[in-house]
Structure formats: structure tokens, C-alpha cells
């Protein structure tokens, strides 16, 4: 049977189902990252020096080197957010070619982000700054790692919507547009989290 309000808006709430669903999901994500940030605040205020000094000394100098990478990644993610929203606009304009171009750019940006991340990680691990080194490193790897997993998840979804999932455009174009909006909300949220991770992990030490 057909579930109502998949495409059309319900009158009294003004929403379609997955719009409400994704916002609830994002609410839970806010609380998830809230738990992580709460740990950051508690451990940071509890530490005598920040970042703490461990076996290999303090990460602070290495961190200074990574600021350019991280800044680059910030720009990349912001760019991907813009192209994401443009992909949705393209669908609204019924321009499938443009949609594919914009969404493709988003996916490429996400991949670049991960590659940069990979170099950042391997550099740190190479120098002995593994998660167990001190609480800063533990937070760094856990927070960025979890964020990275969100990026990976996003890539999977977006790649599906770019590739095989597009067939829905022919049968139910409005529903497909909604899907892109919902996927976009998720993607912007991932960007938003990064906007906070960037200063607290890279800059303000």
C-alpha cells in the first residue's frame, strides 16, 4: 500500500515524511556530537596544559604544520556544501545534466577531503602521535574519525543518488528532488560539524 505524504506536504504540519525524519535524525546527531564535545570541554578544562605532553612531547608544533591542510579541507567542505545545494536547485530547474555536474563535484570534494585527512592521519601516526598518546590525540582521532565516517556515509548515499538512484527521476521526479534535499540536509550538517571541529581541534591550542 502507499504511504501518504511521501511527496506531497501534509496540511497541518507542512512537511513531507522524510523531511521530518531527517531533522529528527539530525537532532540525534546533534546530541551525539554533543556528547563528544562535552567530553572535549571536560577533559580540556581538566588538563593542566593543552595539548597535554606525552611520551613524544606535545603535538603543538606538528599541529601548526597541519593548519594549512585543515584550512584547505574546510574550504573544500564548504564548497561541497554549496555544490550540494546547487544540485538541488538544478533539480528544481529540471536540469538533470547540471544536477549530475554539481552532485559529482560534491562527491569529488568529499573524496579530496578524505585524501587530505589520510595524509594528516598518517603523518601524525608516523610521528608517534597515536590516539593513546594523550587525551588531545584521543579526542582528535575520535572526533575527526567519527566525522570522517559521516563523510564516508555521505559519499555512499550521494554516489547512489548520482548513479543508480537517479532512475527515480523518471518515475517520481518530485520524490527524487525531496531525496536530494534530505541528503543535502545531512551533508550540510556534516559540514556544520566540521566548522566547529576545525577551530577547536586545530586552531585554539
Amino acid at each position: 500500500m502507499e504511504i501518504p505524504y511521501n511527496v506531497e506536504l501534509r496540511e497541518d504540519t507542512g512537511l513531507y515524511n522524510s523531511k521530518l525524519g531527517i531533522w529528527l535524525f539530525l537532532a540525534s546527531e546533534i546530541m551525539l556530537f554533543g556528547g563528544l564535545f562535552s567530553a572535549y570541554i571536560l577533559l580540556r578544562t581538566g588538563a593542566p596544559v593543552w595539548p597535554p605532553i606525552g611520551e613524544h612531547g606535545s603535538i603543538i608544533h606538528l599541529l601548526k604544520d597541519t593548519i594549512p591542510h585543515a584550512t584547505f579541507n574546510t574550504v573544500i567542505l564548504i564548497l561541497s556544501s554549496v555544490t550540494m545545494v546547487m544540485a538541488w536547485v538544478a533539480l528544481k530547474q529540471k536540469n538533470l545534466g547540471k544536477y549530475k555536474m554539481y552532485l559529482g563535484t560534491t562527491i569529488v570534494c568529499a573524496l579530496i577531503f578524505l585524501v587530505v585527512k589520510y595524509f594528516e592521519y598518517s603523518h601524525k601516526i608516523h610521528e608517534g602521535f597515536v590516539p593513546a598518546h594523550d587525551t588531545y590525540m584521543a579526542l582528535y582521532f575520535t572526533l575527526t574519525g567519527l566525522h570522517g565516517l559521516h563523510i564516508v556515509g555521505g559519499i555512499v548515499v550521494l554516489a547512489y543518488l548520482w548513479g543508480p538512484g537517479i532512475s527515480m527521476w523518471n518515475s517520481e521526479p518530485e520524490r527524487f528532488t525531496n531525496r536530494i534535499e534530505v541528503a543535502g540536509l545531512y551533508w550540510h550538517f556534516v559540514d556544520l560539524v566540521w566548522i566547529f571541529l576545525f577551530p577547536i581541534l586545530y586552531l585554539l591550542n
Binding site: 500500500m1 502507499e2 504511504i3 501518504p4 505524504y5 501534509r10 504540519t13 512537511l15 513531507y16 515524511n17 522524510s18 521530518l20 525524519g21 529528527l24 535524525f25 537532532a27 540525534s28 546527531e29 546530541m31 551525539l32 556530537f33 554533543g34 556528547g35 563528544l36 562535552s38 567530553a39 571536560l42 577533559l43 581538566g46 588538563a47 597535554p52 606525552g54 611520551e55 597515536v130 590516539p131 593513546a132 598518546h133 594523550d134 587525551t135 590525540m137 584521543a138 582521532f141 575520535t142 567519527l146
Partner: protein
């Protein structure tokens, strides 16, 4: 989505079904089995508590086999190591694998769409995923029993540093929890969207059955409170797997060896994140139970629930406040005056909506024409029992009596009164009440009454002495029931009383299980009455199920009135269905 005429394969229909009714029943069966397991663990533990270090009768060889497998020494008795495993897993299984799946997963899934007149859940595929993720989480937990060192053994609260340095079972516990949390998140998002978006025409907010309200509030609790525990679980996994020290301060010496970690962490961080979930979680256990009660009471008193609006507002307020009280579990962690004032105050405030809800239920009885059916008996039994459980929460909620009572059997008694005769009675009431809806067959009333009276008696025999022991200062989680401590000597005989009550309580479940199986196997009654209780809510006007029709309603229902229009003056019958024009 699929057109409903072609035959679905067995797998699609019963295993990987996206029909909320099938998923609800899957949840129900799995969760009952887990309840049974959690109960069985406790039966063995109760032997150890009553007769420490003697061989467990009947299942002694099984216990020895498991102990050998885990590498514990046992002569058929329950060694302390295994006791701790059983204790932690009893709590975990009962709460996360038993009660929540049954009360949200099974009842919520099965009934919410029916009660609001929706064709299914808003996201059927997600619904299926949520069951299977739960299933995987359960399997992970079960597997952990067979690891060397056994399953998790640091209590269901898993406080670090103990849990950080515990055996591998704890890692499985954490992984299992991540699955269970994910499952709950998927399920509860689905329930919220369903309630908000898929209400039938005319089903306004104030016409929702209270059960649906309770599910709505519960789902919000799950969506917003579970993620911080997920974060905490990830931290603890990092600690255990990657050697970080989120929860480990510097300078720990364990068994004479300096613990080689960087340190700098905080054990209290875990407690904050854990109780941020776990306090709302206890209202997740009780709110849907209250929802079930409202349905049963209205139906069996043949009159509207008294104070429907107060119920709704109280439940919502309760849900909101439940995020503000978590640290009443941490009164003894050395909090200062400010924190203590804040959390005592919020705890006292949160008891008020519970009092209001209970008052509404009790006032609903006044002027009714009470039918003593099995569901109603469980509902009536629920009230004083939840009353005792809730009332014993008050001394715990004030930080000064809690100095004496914290982590004693008083706490155990308090929460068992709310979860066992509280939640479990509500679940039983729900099972007896909606069984005809799910299967088209009525459970036997006589067996049901036997089940109720004996459960009622033995539950009190089981949990009341806990309060006595607790006031005497006996600590919880003692694998010899206190035999080693001087101050517990005067209370040891209660252990025997409690254990016999527990085993007799187990015996009292036999009529129930027999009743379930016998009724299920019995031939279908030729012409099942679609509304055997003469109830008003929408699920009973649905004629396509039972047991499992395609879709929910032949004709999309339209709602014209509130949920509990019983004995309306001037009507010919004593019930006026919501769909009646």
C-alpha cells in the same frame, strides 16, 4: 508500495517483512525470549544469594560448563566472576533487550499505526532495518557469554575504570550496545514521523489515545538521550581497543602494576554520559506502560479516562524533565552544594507528574463499572506496586537519605517495584488485552487470573525484603548476598525468602506460557469477534487483520471523537468507537 495482490514469499512475508504488524510480532517474540533469558540468569543468581557457594541444583552442570568455558573455577556453584557476569547481563538484557524492544518495538510498532488509522509506519524499510539491527545487537550480546573471561561483568552501568580494564566481554557489550542504540534510534524516529504525519483524518492531537502519546514522548526520549551514550560507548571502545584514556585518570595502579596509559581522563565523564541516557531510559520503560494502562483502564471501567489532558501534559512534562535529573544517580560522587540543590529539586519536581498520572488513573475508577478481566487485574495490581516503587524513589531523590541508601538493596527494591510489577505488569496487561487483535483468539481468562494472583504475591515476596535489606545498609552486587559483612548478618534470612519467591514467581509464569502456546495452537475460532472487549479505539474497527492482512484498513478510517467515549449518555451501547459518525 508493492501491489498487494501477488503472493509474497515466506521470507518476505514473515522474516524480512516491512509490514509493521509482522515486525511488531517479531520484536515481541524475540524480546519475550530475552526476558526469559534475563529471568533465568536471575534464577541462578538467586540460588547463590540464598545459599552462597553451594552447587546450583538442576542446572548446576550447565553453570559449571559455562564457567569452564569462561575459565572460572566452579564445582557447579556460581563463582563470583560469573555472578558479576550474570548480574551485568541480567540488567542489560532486561532493559535493553527485553523491555524496551517489547514495549516500544512490539507494542509501539504494532499498535501505533493501527491506533492512529495509518496504513503502516512512515518508513517501512527502516522499520525492518531497526528490527534486524536489534537482532544483531542481541546476537553479539549472546555470543559474548561464550568468550574466555565471560560476558560483560561491570554491571549494566559499566562504570570505568573497572569496565575499561575488564575482559573482552565488555568490548562485545559495547559493540552490542552500539547496535541496540542504532536500532532504537531508527525505530523511534519512525514512530515520531508516523504519529506526526500519518494520523487519519480527524485524529487531532487531543483525540490520540494516551498510548500513542506515551509512545511519542518515549520516542523523543530515545532520539535525544541515546546518542550521548553512543558517544560514551565509542569513547570506552577507544579506551579498550586503542588504549586511549578518556575515562582513565593519570597514576592508576592496578594489581600492583602501574597502568601504562597516558591518563588525563575522567571516570565521571562516563557517568554523566551514561546517566544522561539512563535516567530518561527509565521513563522509556514506564511511559508506554502507563499508555497501556490508560487503554485497559478506560475499557474495563467502561468510562472515559479521568483527566485526559492532565495525562497528556504530565507525560510531556515528565519527558522533558527526565533530561534534567540524571545526576541523582551520582549524589555520592562528591558534588558540591549547588549541584546537589539543582538535582534534588529537579528530582522532586519530576515526581509530581508521576503522582498526577497515577491520580488520574485511580480517579478513573470512580463511577466506573469495573470488569475484572485479566488485563484489568494486572492494571489494578500495577497501581499500588508502581506506587511503592515510585514512593521509594523519593528518599533516593533527596541527597541526604541517599547517603545511607545509595547502592544498597533499597535502590534494587525501588527500581524492581517500578520495572517488574510496574513495567512487566503493564506488558502482561497489554499482551492479554491485544492478543485477540494480534491473533484473533482470546487467551484463557482462568489461566490468566492464576498467572496474575501468583505473580502479584510472589513479586511482593521478592521485592519487599529488598527494601528491608536496603534500610539495613546491605550493599547491592554482593555475590554472597552479604554473608561476608557484619551489618548484613541480621538480614541474611531474607535472601532465602526472596529466592523462594523468585522461583515460585518462575513457576507462576508457567500458566502464562502454557496459555500462550495452547491458544496459539488451538483451532481458530470460526468467527472471531473483531472487537471482543467492546473497545472504542481505532485498531478495533479494523477488520482486515487479524491475523495478518495486507494493509491495515479496508477503508481509510475517519475519526470523529476522542479515544475513550465509553458510556456516553444517550447512546445505545456503552461504547462509541472513534470512527463512529
Amino acid at each position: 508500495m508493492s501491489d498487494s495482490h501477488h503472493e509474497e514469499s515466506f521470507w518476505r512475508k514473515y522474516i524480512f517483512s516491512t509490514d509493521h504488524k509482522v515486525i511488531g510480532i517479531q520484536y515481541g517474540i524475540t524480546a519475550l525470549l530475552f526476558l526469559f533469558l534475563g529471568f533465568s540468569l536471575m534464577m541462578v543468581m538467586r540460588w547463590q544469594l540464598a545459599y552462597p557457594d553451594t552447587a546450583v541444583p538442576i542446572v548446576g552442570s550447565l553453570v559449571k560448563w559455562l564457567a569452564d568455558l569462561n575459565g572460572f573455577a566452579s564445582d557447579g556453584n556460581l563463582p563470583a566472576d560469573l555472578y558479576n557476569v550474570f548480574g551485568a547481563m541480567h540488567g542489560t538484557i532486561m532493559i535493553f533487550l527485553g523491555v524496551v524492544p517489547i514495549i516500544v518495538g512490539a507494542f509501539g510498532n504494532y499498535l501505533v499505526p493501527l491506533q492512529i488509522g495509518a496504513p503502516d509506519m512512515a518508513f517501512p524499510k527502516l522499520n525492518m532495518a531497526s528490527y534486524w539491527v536489534y537482532f544483531v545487537g542481541g546476537v553479539v550480546m549472546l555470543v559474548s557469554f561464550f568468550l574466555p573471561g565471560g560476558a560483560a561483568n561491570s554491571g549494566w552501568t559499566a562504570y570505568p575504570p573497572l569496565s575499561d580494564i575488564a575482559t573482552t566481554g565488555q568490548t562485545y557489550w559495547l559493540i552490542g550496545m552500539v547496535f541496540l542504540i542504532t536500532s532504537s534510534l531508527l525505530g523511534s524516529m519512525n514512530i515520531i514521523v508516523t504519529i506526526v504525519q500519518l494520523r487519519a483524518e480527524g485524529m487531532t492531537w487531543m483525540r490520540l489515545p494516551f498510548f500513542v502519546w506515551s509512545q511519542l514522548v518515549t520516542s523523543f526520549l530515545l532520539v535525544l538521550a541515546f546518542p550521548p551514550l553512543e558517544a560514551a560507548g565509542i569513547f570506552q571502545l577507544m579506551d579498550r581497543v586503542f588504549g586511549t584514556s578518556f575515562f582513565l585518570p593519570s597514576g592508576l595502579v592496578i594489581g600492583g602494576e602501574i597502568l601504562k596509559v597516558s591518563g588525563g581522563g575522567s571516570p565521571l565523564l562516563w557517568q554523566h554520559l551514561f546517566w544522561f541516557l539512563a535516567h530518561p531510559e527509565v521513563y522509556v520503560l514506564i511511559l508506554p506502560g502507563m499508555g497501556i494502562l490508560a487503554e485497559v483502564i478506560a475499557n474495563n471501567t467502561r468510562k472515559p479516562i479521568w483527566g485526559y489532558k492532565s495525562l497528556v501534559y504530565s507525560a510531556t512534562f515528565l519527558g522533558f524533565m527526565s533530561f534534567l535529573v540524571w545526576a541523582h544517580h551520582m549524589f555520592l560522587t562528591g558534588m558540591g552544594q549547588g549541584m546537589s540543590v539543582f538535582f534534588q529539586t529537579t528530582t522532586m519536581i519530576i515526581s509530581v507528574p508521576s503522582v498526577i498520572i497515577l491520580t488520574c488513573f485511580m480517579l478513573s475508577l470512580w463511577g466506573g463499572s469495573i470488569r475484572f478481566t485479566t488485563p484489568m487485574l494486572f492494571a489494578l495490581g500495577w497501581m499500588p506496586m508502581f506506587g511503592i516503587g515510585g514512593l521509594t524513589g523519593l528518599p533516593l531523590g533527596l541527597s541526604t537519605p541517599d547517603i545511607h541508601l545509595h547502592d544498597t538493596y533499597y535502590v534494587i527494591g525501588h527500581f524492581h517495584y517500578v520495572v517488574a510489577p510496574g513495567t512487566i505488569f503493564a506488558i502482561f496487561a497489554g499482551i492479554y488485552y491485544w492478543f485477540p487483535k494480534m491473533t484473533g483468539k482470546m487467551l484463557n481468562e482462568t489461566l490468566g487470573k492464576v498467572h496474575f494472583y501468583f505473580s502479584f504475591i510472589f513479586m511482593n515476596g521478592l521485592f519487599w525484603p529488598m527494601l528491608i535489606q536496603g534500610l539495613g545498609g546491605v550493599s547491592r552486587r554482593l555475590s554472597d548476598g552479604g554473608a561476608s559483612y557484619a551489618h548484613a548478618q541480621e538480614f541474611l534470612h531474607w535472601n532465602v525468602v526472596m529466592s523462594y519467591s523468585a522461583w515460585l514467581l518462575a513457576v507462576a509464569q508457567i500458566p502464562f506460557i502454557y496459555n500462550l502456546i495452547k491458544t496459539l495452537l488451538a483451532d481458530k475460532s470460526p468467527n472471531p469477534d473483531p472487537n471482543p472487549w467492546n473497545a472504542t479505539t481505532v485498531e478495533w474497527t479494523d477488520t482486515t487483520s487479524p491475523p495478518l492482512g495486507h494493509g491495515n484498513f479496508e477503508k481509510t478510517p475517519v475519526v470523529h471523537r476522542g479515544p475513550y467515549e465509553y458510556s456516553v449518555p444517550g447512546e445505545s451501547t456503552d461504547f462509541t468507537p472513534q470512527t463512529q459518525n
